[in-house]
């Protein structure tokens, strides 16, 4: 997508999210209501097909366009599996398959494929509760397959996330996939791409949390003046802004790196670093945002928790800072101390 088309896409999508994914919709999802209207408007706009070639019915965008869209969706706490469906479609299209209607859930790990049948249990699958399809990559290297499984072939146990979204486990016993293709990405790679996508959503949510608190502190008065006049609050928000900026910068840098390589491999270091960074600062961001808003930010009524609770959930999704940090640290240690600096300057693991 050229710059202009991307900006147009983001503008229309932003308007849709602002109008249709408001507070009531996000709250209703927590009560178990599926926002069918929102989802159909999202599909009408073609967003789950944003990174699918025109020939396959998509918007002809790239991974970069998708990631920019996901940062935006994060900043509106859009409570539907846009990330999952759009990323699944990117992989399916690259595999020469047919994009799914969605809503779809994404699986990397926990499943096996034998004789064309899928078995196993995938745990903590985002949006398992509402998924019409499960898209899974099974295996690594040339043996990797991407399969589409119909909801009817899954036994789903819903366990809502702490942000109230319908996460859960999906169990398959000799399920027959409706599509089964050689996958351009391995299981490991899908986890990387999903982690990057989540990091971008976290960047959006973090940015929004900052915007909400800055706005609130300018309006809330105590001791006869706006609390934003107090230096303690100014410094708290400045520190919050720094942590948010770090989250955004890391996610954007990794997005840039990943967009410059094929979907199959590359940018592993940047992605691992970005998800580690985003997950590591999530708590500080949430804590500072809440501190600056007093009791109001702790209520169900106010929207701040739509963002802070997602940050807490998303930091764990597709690998926490412990997991990604361990991968980074193990790779750095394996390569040896002298390669650390070249690794940092090239954003590439030493061979």
């Amino acid at each position: 997508m050229d710059r202009e088309s991307r900006e147009m896409l983001l503008e229309t999508a932003g308007r849709l999210f602002a109008d249709r994914s408001g507070k009531e919709v996000v709250n209703a999802v927590e009560k178990g209501e599926w926002p069918a209207g929102l989802w159909s408007e999202i599909t009408d706009m073609g967003l789950p097909l944003v990174a699918v070639p025109e020939a396959a019915g998509g918007a002809d965008g790239t991974l970069a366009d998708l990631l920019a869209l996901l940062r935006l969706s994060g900043s509106h706490a859009v409570p539907v599996p846009l990330m999952e469906t759009a990323l699944a479609n990117l992989v399916l299209a690259a595999a020469g398959g047919v994009p799914v209607e969605g809503p779809a859930a994404l699986i990397a790990g926990g499943l096996t494929l034998a004789g064309g049948k899928v078995s196993g249990t995938a745990k903590r699958v985002a949006f398992a509760g509402v998924a019409a399809q499960f898209v899974a990559v099974i295996g690594v290297g040339p043996a990797a397959r991407v399969v589409v499984l119909d909801r009817s072939s899954a036994k789903v146990a819903v366990e809502p996330s702490f942000a109230g979204e319908p996460y859960g486990s999906a169990q398959f016993e000799g399920a027959a996939p409706v599509q089964n293709l050689a996958s351009p990405v391995s299981e490991v790679r899908l986890r990387e791409l999903a982690a990057l996508a989540r990091a971008m959503q976290m960047a959006g949510a973090a940015d929004r949390a900052l915007a909400i608190t800055v706005e609130y502190c300018k309006q809330r008065s105590q001791f006869g003046r706006p609390i934003s006049n107090f230096q303690a609050i100014q410094h708290l928000l400045a520190e919050l802004a720094s942590c948010v900026a770090a989250t955004v910068a890391a996610a954007e840098a990794a997005s840039r790196d990943a967009s410059e390589v094929g979907i199959g491999s590359g940018a592993e270091f940047s992605i691992a670093a970005a998800k580690t960074q985003a997950s590591e600062f999530a708590q500080r961001i949430a804590a500072m945002a809440h501190q600056s808003m007093g009791a109001m930010g702790f209520t169900q009524e106010h929207v701040l928790h739509h963002y802070t609770r997602r940050l807490w959930v998303w930091r764990r999704d597709w690998g926490s800072e412990t997991e990604w940090g361990a991968e980074l640290g193990a790779a750095v240690a394996r390569a040896g101390a002298e390669t650390l600096w070249p690794t940092l300057t090239s954003s590439r693991f030493a061979a």
Binding site: Q234, S242, A246, A249, T276, W324, L328, A330, W341
Partner: protein, 386 residues
């Protein structure tokens, strides 16, 4: 919701020409640095070595962005960035020329007279002429606009009286750029301040050491008693000192020395945990690596904005804040990890000395070049809070 001012750090990648220069700098350092002990190399930008500064100058690596007619290479800020970060990461003793290359030279280039530029810049690029910063005074720290040192206009120049403190390197440098009051009264704040280029060999200057907590003599108290300086020492316009000093501080704040000063601690930590650390240790190291990588990406973004002609003063302040706090956290996190996960007791003991030394030096990072609180005040202003 009304929009709040955005602090963005658009990803920026160094161009191939800068990466090619990196290869050259690495090759140069590889032949120049061996023979120096680690403790003589860190912090790089505080460690003086006239031999090293001259060798670097001979390579054309000082003042590389400056015009050729002043000894520069007319290369970009991005090239300078690469040189700077390589010096820091590899622990090159670049302390003598650091200030001249980073801020005094650029200041003269921007505001100085032709005579000043011709007399001084080529010597800086050769690694033979060094500068110190005369901003702080006993009663003026964060509140820099309250400086009292007075330069009274006299026929042919100025008569300077007053005291500067914390003047790093005044005892081993040639010039001081001093922020002084040339007109008006104390209390006029920013108005009436000017910058003077003062030759430290001038009569009427006494330089007294101030020893820091580590026993090092980096700092000085510089006292001017009826020190006469020529009119040609005035940098820029009379009364423009505040404007100029602010632009100087932007250079001072935005560089990689705000997160790479104790990089060796992280590198040595990787060494002591061995090639196959336990998962918990790997995770701690990975988190530090991720933070450092992120800081570098942010700093590159600031560099890219500067290259594009913007003046990202607030973004630079934010990176300095995050970066200096990282530098403070690093030795402590590393110390605790080494105590549990070093491969041998001997390695651990050696590393604990490195980490402890780094911890001892760390308080300075969040004070010099603008304290954490001053920086946060700037970021808060950027957020529209004040």
């Amino acid at each position: 919701m009304s929009a709040i001012p955005k602090l963005e750090f658009p990803p920026f990648r160094l161009p191939p020409s800068a990466e090619a220069l990196r290869t050259e700098v690495r090759a140069f350092l590889k032949t120049t640095l061996p023979g120096l002990k680690t403790e003589d190399r860190y912090p790089s930008w505080n460690t003086p070595s006239p031999e090293f500064s001259r060798a670097l100058g001979a390579q054309g690596l000082i003042g590389i962005t400056w015009p050729k007619k002043y000894g520069g290479q007319e290369r970009s800020f991005l090239d300078r960035y690469v040189v700077t970060e390589e010096l820091l990461a590899q622990g090159a003793p670049a302390g003598l020329h650091w200030v001249a290359d980073r801020q005094s030279g650029p200041l003269l280039l921007r505001f100085g007279s032709e005579e000043q530029r011709e007399a001084i810049l080529p010597r800086i690029t050769r690694g033979e002429c060094y500068f110190c910063i005369g901003m702080s005074e006993p009663d003026s720290g964060s509140d820099l606009a309250s400086v009292r040192t007075r330069a009274e206009p006299v026929p042919g120049g100025f008569r300077v009286n007053g005291t500067k403190v914390w003047t790093s390197g005044a005892h081993r440098t040639d010039y001081c750029i001093a922020l002084v009051r040339t007109s008006g009264q104390h209390g006029d704040r920013q108005r009436g301040l000017s910058q003077l280029l003062i030759d430290l060999k001038s009569p009427g200057i006494s330089i007294r050491p101030i020893i820091n907590l580590a026993g090092r003599h980096d700092w000085n108290e510089v006292t001017f008693s009826d020190c006469l300086v020529p009119e040609s020492a005035l940098i820029g316009g009379e009364g423009d000192g505040w404007l100029q000093v602010t632009s100087e501080l932007a250079f001072e704040r935005s560089g990689p020395e705000r997160f790479l000063t104790n990089f060796h601690v992280l590198r040595e930590l990787v060494r002591v945990v061995g090639r196959q650390p336990a998962r918990r240790a790997a995770s701690v190291i990975g988190r530090l690596v991720a933070r450092l990588w992120t800081l570098r990406q942010m700093s590159l973004a600031v560099c890219g904005m500067m290259e594009a002609g913007q003046s990202p003063a607030i973004e630079a302040a934010l990176v300095k804040d995050l970066g200096t706090i990282f530098q403070q956290d690093l030795p402590e996190v590393a110390r605790l990890l080494a105590e549990s996960d070093a491969t041998t007791d001997e390695d651990m003991a050696d590393f604990l000395d490195i980490a402890q030394h780094a911890t001892m030096m760390a308080p300075a990072y969040t004070i010099q070049g603008g304290t954490t609180q001053v920086l946060r005040g700037m970021v808060a202003r950027g957020l529209g809070l004040r």
